[in-house]
């Protein structure tokens, strides 16, 4: 029988109270680590969405808004940029490649991206990974479409299926472009980025489905230009939402940025995606820190509950402690006993919390990733998480040991026969 077994047996004797405390600490640990994980996942999800893109160019708005809309399809565009400007920038010797983007339509809640085949060739994500096709090929025909991995899997589409686009983001009262259906010719492999949630068509196709539309509304009287005559019209776009630019010399990014910002043709803005995201994190950072502080407070509450329970139990354990004193246990043994118990409770609480977190991550991970682009790795672990856990256990240990001094004083004062 050593101190550890003594502490275990003593704790088992009071297992109901201690179990409740373990649960409280577990939940608070889950919350603390969960908040941290979500924060890191959000940053990860955003930063890996685009790679190798030196500048995002669009009409002058806020840099964060432009990047969020052009890359993540979040929010609204305030203004478009001229196709003329895109041509001029793409033709500049400093530019290695340019991907024009036209947003505004959707398909069953998934945003539609009008672009050129350059997208499939030059767009990269997550440290230089290129796009790959799990089936089919890029679009070539006018009404061809390529689907992101999640669009295909959620809606059960395969090559050759027909889909129609909806004008706008697809709320109540949205108009369908039902007269011009598209054929699925390609499905992209998973990237873990907003690409998975997007439907890709050519810029000409966007023009084609809006032929005759004025001011965001279809021609009156149900009139529409039939599919086969569409090519008789000039389908060159007039405006696009934004463009992604890659430079021959990456070190020239600041100079090109300034040149575009001072572009004579129209008011344009060029943004380094990394800089825009950094600004976003600074804004969001305050919220993140408050969330972390709240979670830490919840942990403190859990540990305070444990300390209260330990203190309360001391009264009913005075007899037990004086018996131990009579058989030779000194103050250090009593402190050790209470310390071991505190460590046990906090440790199991922390372990249970971690298990809960892993289970939660595994359950909600896929949903979070496909709906919000947040990559949650259920089994991943970081140094910061270990530090947080160590801090929790250390605090719990301290909270359990400090009443031990009170216990010793009580035991000493009682002598051998406590006044019960």
């Amino acid at each position: 029988m050593n101190l550890l077994r003594l502490a275990l047996r003593s704790a088992w004797n009071r297992r109901v109270t201690l179990a409740l405390i373990v649960c409280a600490i577990a939940l608070s640990v889950t919350m603390l680590l969960g908040v941290e994980r979500a924060r890191i996942a959000a940053r990860e999800g955003f930063s890996q969405a685009v790679s190798g893109t030196d500048l995002v160019v669009g009409a002058r708005t806020s840099p964060i808004q432009l990047v969020l809309y052009a890359v993540f399809h979040l929010g609204e565009a305030t203004n478009n940029m001229l196709w003329k400007s895109e041509q001029q920038i793409a033709g500049d010797p400093a530019v290695a490649w340019a991907i024009p983007i036209s947003l505004g339509d959707s398909h069953r809640g998934f945003p539609t991206v009008g672009t050129t085949p350059a997208f499939f060739e030059h767009f990269k994500y997550s440290l230089g990974a290129p796009l790959a096709f799990s089936a089919g090929r890029p679009f070539s025909g006018l009404f061809d479409t390529v689907l992101g991995a999640d669009v295909a899997s959620h809606l059960g589409y395969r090559l050759g299926d027909a889909i129609t686009l909806t004008h706008g983001s697809g709320g109540i009262g949205s108009v369908e472009h039902a007269d011009k259906p598209f054929t699925v010719v390609g499905i992209l492999a998973r990237t873990g980025t907003p690409v998975d949630r997007s439907v890709f068509v050519s810029l000409e196709a966007i023009e084609a489905i809006h032929l005759g539309w004025q001011g965001g509304a279809p021609p009156p009287g149900g009139f529409s230009i039939p599919e086969q005559f569409v090519r008789k019209f000039d389908l060159t776009p007039k405006t696009i939402t934004a463009m992604l630019v890659g430079l021959r010399n990456r070190a020239a990014v600041f100079h090109v940025q300034r040149a575009i910002n001072e572009f004579a043709g129209e008011p344009l803005m060029a943004v380094l995606p990394g800089v825009a995201l950094d600004q976003l994190w600074q804004v969001v950072g305050v919220v993140e820190k408050s969330l972390l502080a709240v979670s830490a407070l919840v942990v403190v509450v859990g540990i305070a509950g444990m300390a209260a329970a330990v203190l309360a139990s001391l009264n009913e354990r005075r007899r037990e402690l004086s018996i131990l004193r009579s058989v030779g246990a000194g103050p250090r043994h009593i402190v050790a006993l209470l310390g071991i118990e505190a460590l046990l409770v906090t440790g199991s609480g922390a372990a249970l919390g971690v298990a809960l977190l892993v289970a939660l991550s595994a359950l909600t991970g896929p949903w979070l990733e496909s709906n919000y682009g947040l990559p949650i790795n259920a089994l991943g672990w970081s140094v910061d998480e270990s530090l947080l856990l160590a801090a929790v256990v250390a605090a719990g240990f301290a909270a359990g040991v400090l009443p031990a001094y009170r216990a010793c004083r009580l035991a000493l004062a009682d002598g051998l026969t406590p006044r019960l």
């Binding site: 890191i40 940053r43 990860e44 930063s47 890996q48 790679s51 190798g52 030196d54 920038i89 500049d92 010797p93 400093a94 530019v95 994500y125 997550s126 440290l127 230089g128 430079l247 021959r248 010399n249 990456r250 070190a251 020239a252 990014v253 600041f254 100079h255 090109v256 940025q257 300034r258 040149a259 575009i260 380094l272 990394g274 800089v275 950094d278 820190k289 972390l292 502080a293 830490a296 407070l297 942990v299 403190v300 540990i303 305070a304 300390a307 910061d384 530090l387 947080l388 801090a391 250390a394 605090a395 301290a398 909270a399 400090l402």
Partner: protein
């Protein structure tokens, strides 16, 4: 009492994520005497500019006092200076040298908390509201392995092999002539002394 200790510990962790206090335009302290640091020669940003290159030479030579107010030649001189700024040449003798240089990092590609390519600039806030540095004061750094734990505008020491790049095409909107590229073997945080 215990709550305070715990919160204090947590705040101490957060403090580790706080950035050093730099203002826009701040340069890092120049070493009193560039020293050798293992295999790497410590240099400062002035060494990247050829000795004979002086973009404000003409401006210095002109006697502004001789001009009338609003003289178009004064503005033309400024524009010319800007042009020269952008056509900044590189110091060819540095090609292939193993150097160590401090600067501020502008990540170009980032994922999983690691940066795989970045630009190194001589002063803080080079991407915000100030004219960009001349071509010979920006280094395109490619580390051997992606590095973790760095953020936008972090002050770092970079050790690696410098290469001077001659660009083949016309400049267009970009910089006219060549630039610097650094194959970095190690990146260290810069600590203010």
């Amino acid at each position: 009492m215990k709550a305070l200790v715990f919160i204090a510990a947590l705040l101490a962790c957060c403090a580790g994520f706080a950035r050093a206090d730099y203002q826009v335009g701040d340069h890092l302290a120049k070493p009193a005497k560039p020293s050798a640091h293992g295999a790497y020669q410590e240099i400062d940003w002035d060494a990247l500019m050829p000795k004979d290159w002086d973009p404000i030479k003409e401006l210095k030579a002109t006697d502004l006092g001789m001009m009338r107010d609003g003289d178009p030649r004064a503005n033309a001189l400024l524009l010319k200076m800007q042009e020269l700024w952008e056509k900044a040449p590189v110091e060819a003798s540095l090609d292939g040298k193993r150097i160590r240089i401090p600067g501020f990092m502008v990540p170009l590609d980032e994922a999983k908390g690691k940066v795989s390519e970045f630009l190194l600039v001589p002063y803080f806030g080079a991407c915000i509201h100030v004219p960009p540095p001349p071509a010979n004061q920006i280094i395109h750094v490619v580390p051997d392995k992606p590095v973790a734990g760095h953020h936008m505008m972090d002050a770092v020491w970079v050790n690696g092999t410098l290469r001077t790049i001659r660009s083949q095409t016309r400049a267009g909107m970009g910089m006219a002539s060549a630039g610097y590229r650094l194959e970095a073997q190690s990146i260290e945080p810069y600590k203010q002394k």
